[in-house]
Subunit: 219 residues, 2 copies
DNA sequence: TAATGTGAAAACCTTCACAGCT
DNA sequence: AGCTGTGAAGGTTTTCACATTA
């Protein structure tokens, strides 16, 4: 008990969780632009989502608005960040320091959002000991130890497809509960481990379906 | 007419389209590993999806299986690739050749899947004329002309967040119907334009919710 | 026997519509 | 007057379960 906030103790749909970061992003933008209050209608327009959906989504976590007025932007950002666990920093480790892994280590978008890359690993002994960003590459055989030492919360997998499932298995054995996977595979993990896949090719491949099915209203 | 294949003329849910590329990926792996026939149960296990869902999904497009036996892997891969429009090559243009844009141009995962980067654009005159991979950077003001000349099917947006919506507006004006967006924004486009967002931070931010809500069964 | 393809049932998610608060 | 919060309605997606076929 004491875990869930506000509304009721209804189980919260995963789709709702997936939308919250989007809300946070747009709200943050509004706040930084000086907007103090926003209605679900206004927010919905900016997100391409219905106002009712926004109100329903927020209602899972509490009553953040004022009737007749709308939502205080700063307040709502804060509440949603708290709900998502974004009111603290999270430590990540990048596994695989090839082209992609190095790009991830140097990606400037994580740090400002509270995600720090504090460790890097590679199976190739030639890479071990090198420095990228401000992390030193360690051997994959150190995974277990390092994950505890560095208090890693999230693993970022950037190894070739052929090795990815093995790496993910090791991570799971080490007790990792969250994995951001860049390898183009469908990872197998136990239920209690969360995986998000970053895979531009999948995005392209769904769009071609729609491109193909187009212009068919032209004779 | 003659567009929709197989089963019936039921409108096909977008979630189904989104799953197809995953099926293609796992099936391709199986095929390359020498598997000739696969059942929906086997496939489901590898994808973390129920067998019924796979059968229902496939039934939107045709009857690809054999009762009592399963699906011929090579045949099914071919059919699904055809359904998704992956039986041809698609031309893409990368907009923005900063760190991220250059990484995308050099990403080796697109070409083997039939996606070619045939043009690159940047607003910065210092970048115009430079070469990355085997494309020459052009001025963003040439977008319109170049999209027609190079027969660009898909735009890949890799500009800073602040410029992304403007770039997307230009692309839409040029008639682009598919955009792969790497900028951390919620893009606004007309219904007929498809957008897929690649945003690792959103993935991380949904996982922290689950991490936070964990270990609560340990009193 | 084994596994597909599919109507029907169940689960899930979104939208409606309005009471209630500011 | 305006907009939230929310039960109930409506719509969509998933799962079930079985007739059917190899």
């Amino acid at each position: 008990m004491s875990t869930a906030a506000g509304g009721g103790s209804v189980p919260i749909p995963e789709v709702v969780i997936v939308r919250l970061p989007l809300y946070v992003r747009v709200l943050t933008q509004l706040r930084d632009g000086g907007t103090e209050v926003v209605s679900s209608r206004e927010l919905g327009t900016r997100l391409g989502v219905t106002p009712a959906q926004i109100r329903k989504d927020l209602s899972y976590f509490g009553r953040f608005g004022k009737q007749g007025r709308g939502y205080n932007v700063s307040f709502l950002v804060g509440e949603l960040r708290r709900v998502l666990g974004l009111d603290r920093e999270w430590n990540t480790a990048v596994i695989g320091v090839g082209r992609l892994g190095r790009a991830i280590i140097n990606y400037p978008g994580f740090e400002p959002e509270g995600f720090r890359v504090v460790a890097a690993f590679d199976a190739d002994p030639d890479q071990v000991g090198r420095h990228f960003g401000n992390v030193r590459v360690r051997s994959t055989s150190d995974l277990d130890r390092a994950i505890v030492d560095e208090a890693i919360d999230i693993a970022i997998v950037a190894v070739p497809a052929a090795e990815a499932q093995d790496v993910i298995d090791s991570l799971v054995k080490c007790g990792i509960k969250a994995i951001l996977n860049y390898a183009p595979i469908a990872p197998q993990v136990p239920d209690e481990v969360k995986v998000r896949n970053i895979d531009p090719v999948l995005g392209l491949q769904t769009m071609t379906y729609h491109l193909k099915t187009m212009g068919s209203d032209r004779t």
